[in-house]
Symmetry: C2
Subunit: 391 residues, 2 copies
């Protein structure tokens, strides 16, 4: 029988306990997030009537949509995009009534009442979606707004050319449906010279005009990278997402965004090894001689992708320390032979993501993109939010 | 201003709403989990005094440690291993006092009171850990148990040969410390013929005898795959983890475990494309002719690893449907050209993980192991737990 000792709990502060218990600390700079949003405001300031929305799906790209939403709201953002109804409900619970929340892709049929109950606007991606929302608008007597998504080449979600043609032929398909935004989505906007960008913009404009512009309703095509393609892409709303969180929206150039995320793992143990010893599962790292190995309390269950095995780089202060051996579920091992011992000690914090190894850097080493690094940030981290309360 | 409509909320059942809102449904068969645990019981039944523990770290390998812990407790499991103190606290909150809970690798100094308050036993991985726990044992007057981890070749956590030598020379280092289990961990147990297995077993036994066996305290070295290496690896405790959740512990042979997980994504939209159209980000899939593409409401933010881009396979009923284009954050696109239309319709459920494409299969396609697929299972799924209440 396990024996509990009730009177041994000296620190009841939940936040302090979480930081003390956790193997790694995730710090999120909400001031930098706001700064990035304002960078977009400046970029579109010459485009008349262009608002800057924010995409905060996937738990605010792993950073917690509630914190992110509130901080962006303080900065002045009024329009938010999330992926699912439950994400919308969570966001609405912390936002005022002046926040406009769109659900990008969700099952609509059967969920109409839940959507309007929380003042969430679905994005209508197909003629079926339109038909469902129209039916509900008629039967409920509510004039609840929705966005209309015209596909311009992604072929993922949105009305195709045939659907747009059907509406052009029969505008009644949309009558009685309160469309508050018409949007499309770019497939290759991170490649500034890719001709597909212009093709998609033209396709979107042609589709819009073929259905009569819907009486001046707001239009939007630009995501984080799309805004950098020029003012013709700004329209009445831009929808930055990943760049707000510090990922480079212009991968061909230097990163114009401020860094939002720092991830610091705790050293649990330091050991010396020597030939012929090996490290970790599958014995994939073989000591080349005397080496000092530090074990860090974070692994692929925390979003340190296993593809970083023998390939990632941590920083102990200003000293790089390469990952050695496979990333395990809860632990990674790094080579700290070149790091002064008074820095690489048990309990020290090591940058897994930081000034010297930002999100994009980890992504490149893992063979993926910063988006996946962010959305994989795990639930076990002790989380610290700083800033974000200033307008 | 967004307008809420309070009287539109027809289904207040939280569970039903979650399933209706979600883009994908994760079904977890707790009966199969119990069956897998019993498979291990049968395997060790001839090894005298050998207990079967369970590793349920990383939120029970993504399946929720509370559900997993309770179901295994019902089956008869009494010893559990988790990775962090907070995982231990969560597990303790649903388990009775007869459950023994070990924390595999955590910062111990500063957390001693929190550990004993919740009756959690730390695994001592170093001489420093031993010293911290000894000091606390002395000052608190509590005889709180801990496990001792002797490294036998992983070089990740645990006492090295030098540390064991120090204890052999000076047994007083351990006096006053209540060691209830001595453990080690295998690096290559999934390769049955790898000589490192026998080397680690020998190393562990030698280390144990050099410190005098600690008066008959329980010993343990076998993880999921290690149990299959033979009875000499069973000792007094085996610690299966991933195999309990259906991953093959004997990758060189057929999988002896029952499948625990099924993941079904909802079709949001079906569209026909044709040359020269492309699908998704970077336009990486080019239509080879007329193709029918279904968009599924799950993406890499849900743990569908981005490395499955143009490489995964879903099943629509018994029909395989390959992933086409890149996996995006919240969506994947699959080619359903070869699937009868009455099956591949909007709203239909598609197996992302299922009888035809189990966890191990998805892992191989993603270039990883089943462990990472499980721990990446995301928070947005509607979750359904079945079975697990029978002894």
């Amino acid at each position: 029988m396990a024996k509990k000792h009730e009177n041994h709990s000296p620190d009841s502060s939940i936040e302090n306990a979480a930081l003390r218990h956790a193997g790694a600390i995730l710090s999120i700079d909400l001031g930098a997030l706001q700064k990035n949003w304002r960078t977009y405001q400046t970029m579109v300031s010459k485009s008349k009537n262009c608002a800057v929305g924010a995409v905060i799906k996937a738990r605010g790209y792993g950073l917690d949509a509630r914190h992110v939403g509130v901080a962006l709201g303080v900065a002045g953002c009024k329009t938010f995009f999330v992926a699912s109804i439950d994400e919308g409900i969570e966001l609405r619970s912390v936002m005022g009534d002046d926040a406009e929340i769109f659900i990008l892709g969700c099952p609509i049929g059967g969920n109409e009442h839940d959507l309007v109950h929380h003042a969430l606007s679905p994005v209508l991606n197909s003629l079926e979606d339109i038909s469902v929302w129209k039916k509900f608008s008629n039967s409920s007597g509510l004039n609840a707004p929705a966005a209309l998504h015209l596909d311009s080449g992604m072929n993922r979600l949105g009305l195709g050319a045939g659907d747009v043609g059907a509406i052009a032929k029969n505008p009644d398909l949309l009558s009685g449906v309160n469309i508050s935004l018409v949007m499309s989505h770019l497939a290759c906007s991170d490649e500034q010279k890719n001709p597909m960008n212009q093709e998609q913009l033209t396709s979107f404009k042609n589709a819009l005009s073929s259905i009569g512009g819907l009486g001046g309703v707001r239009t939007s095509i630009a995501n984080s990278s799309g805004v950098f393609l020029g003012p013709e892409y700004h329209m009445e709303m831009v929808r930055p997402g990943v760049a707000l969180y510090g990922v480079n929206p212009t991968p061909e150039k230097a990163n114009p965004m401020a860094q939002v995320v720092r991830l610091q793992g705790k050293i649990l143990q330091v050991r010396e090894i020597d030939t012929p010893q090996t490290v970790g599962y599958g014995a994939t790292h073989k000591a080349a001689g005397k080496e000092l190995i530090a074990t860090i309390a974070a692994g692929y269950a925390d979003g340190i992708l296993r593809s970083l095995s023998n390939n990632g780089v941590a920083y102990v202060g200003e000293y790089p320390a390469p990952y050695v051996g496979r990333v395990s579920m809860d632990l990674i091992t790094i080579n700290v032979s070149a790091v002064p011992e008074n820095i690489a000690h048990v309990g020290a914090l090591v940058d897994l993501i930081g000034p010297n190894n930002p999100v994009d850097d980890m992504a490149a080493r893992a063979g993926t993109i910063g988006y996946e690094i962010l959305t994989n940030l795990g639930p076990r981290y002790g989380r610290v939010y700083v800033g974000g309360t200033d307008k």
